[in-house]
Amino acid sequence: MSVGGELSVISTLLSSALLLTGLLFFIAGSVAMLRFPDSYSRLHAVTKADSLGLGSIIAGLMFYCNWWQNLLMLLIWLLVLASGTVSCQLLARFCKTKQDQA
């Protein structure tokens, strides 16, 4: 990819740092999902870490795109944030209901 060549050194460093941070968050979230003991902490870890990780990756990608693509990526991030939060709440409530029934 030749796109990276057009960026200044600082931009490249910043974007790489952001992308790597995002990856770290994703890895942390995935490890947490495998290792954490119960559903609530797993949900907590996955939704929080992945939302932040995705935001960081999008921020890193923003150096490579024009303003319109950046806007679209931001909107996608907001949608993922909202749907992640809602599904986390729903799954947690489902777990709670099952726990109360048992």
Binding site: M1, A82, S83, V86, Q89, L90, R93
Partner: protein, 319 residues
């Protein structure tokens, strides 16, 4: 090089997810893995430069099929544990799959490495098709016969499903999921309208738009919204059939129009009217596909007095 790594990872993940889904012991796990498989399959189609298929796969393969499997599982209740089969019982399906796999591999190996003459022919005739996106031109002009039959297949599937639709199960829904589905509804309608309109010159079209609308409608229906969207509603029946009827009517009109000019040809649009005919067919096909796919997932027998009474009891208990 970097994309080669991505492709290898994608292929590996697809195979792993498919195997995990088939081999998983719990049906709910199998369904979740299958949804993940559908999402990766959509990514694969996008990587193979087939965005039309990627959109359809994401909406149907990952979204609607997942919802269909989950509603089926929810109705199974405690029976959902998969039965244990003896090895003789497993042998025949395995044999069938192996034979199919062998035949498919033989076919793939016989595929010519070079593209045939058809893509060039499509691009050459594109100007006369009424649209500028080659996939839409093939689906709704050059090979509209296939699309007509697809609509017929969908309608037949719906009519069959309605005969065996289960009795309604009343389950209360959470306020959060209800309001979230209501919040998403306008977004989905706008997106579906965009996909439908964009189909003329870029990836998109009736099937993708209809599948997206259906996905939104299924989520709303599962939250006990859109109560009018049921087979007992005469307008729902009308629009479910309208996709096919409008198509056939357009075919007959075009046939009559061309009959006056030269030798009549079945399923050929006059070039100057093609754009409008395709748009008309696509609008009604979108609605028909949306209604059909929605009802395929959430169709229920008409409410009986008993189920209605139970529903009222539950609502009284909630309030």
């Amino acid at each position: 090089m970097s994309l080669l790594l991505f492709d290898v990872l994608l292929c590996g993940l697809l195979l792993a997810l498919a195997l995990a889904s088939v081999l998983s012991r719990q049906l709910s796990h199998a369904v979740i893995l299958y949804i993940a498989f559908g999402l990766l399959m959509a990514l694969t189609w996008a990587r193979l430069a087939a965005p039309d298929l990627a959109l359809a796969e994401a909406a149907i393969g990952a979204g609607l099929t997942g919802a269909l499997c989950f509603t089926a599982l929810a109705r199974q209740g405690k029976l959902a544990a998969s039965p244990t089969l003896s090895w003789q019982q497993r042998c025949w399906p395995a044999l069938f799959v192996l034979v199919t796999l062998f035949g498919l591999l033989l076919l793939v190996l016989q595929l010519p490495a070079k593209p045939g003459p058809l893509p060039a022919l499509v691009m050459q005739q594109l100007a006369a098709s009424g649209v500028s996106h080659p996939v839409t031109a093939v689906l709704l002009n050059f090979r509209s016969w296939d699309t007509l039959l697809e609509l017929l297949v969908l309608l037949l599937a719906l009519l069959g499903t309605l005969q065996v639709a289960p009795a309604p199960v009343y389950q209360s829904s959470w306020v959060l999921s209800r309001s979230w589905s209501q919040l998403l509804a306008p977004l989905i309608i706008v997106l579906a309208g965009y996909l439908l309109w964009a189909g003329a010159h870029q990836p998109g079209g009736a099937f993708q738009a209809g599948a997206l609308l259906a996905a939104g409608a299924v989520v709303l229906k599962l939250n006990h919204q859109l109560n009018w969207l049921a087979w007992r509603n005469i307008w729902v029946r009308f629009f479910a059939i309208a996709g096919l009827t409008v198509f056939v009517a357009a075919v007959l009109t075009a046939w009559l129009l061309s009959g006056a000019l030269a030798e009549p040809v079945w399923l050929r649009w006059p070039p100057e009217l093609a754009k409008y005919i395709i748009l008309l067919i696509e609008i009604f096909a979108t609605l028909a596909i949306a209604i059909t796919l929605t009802l395929l997932v959430v169709a229920e027998q008409p409410a009986t007095p008993l189920s209605l009474a139970r529903q009222e009891d539950d609502e009284a208990a909630d309030g």
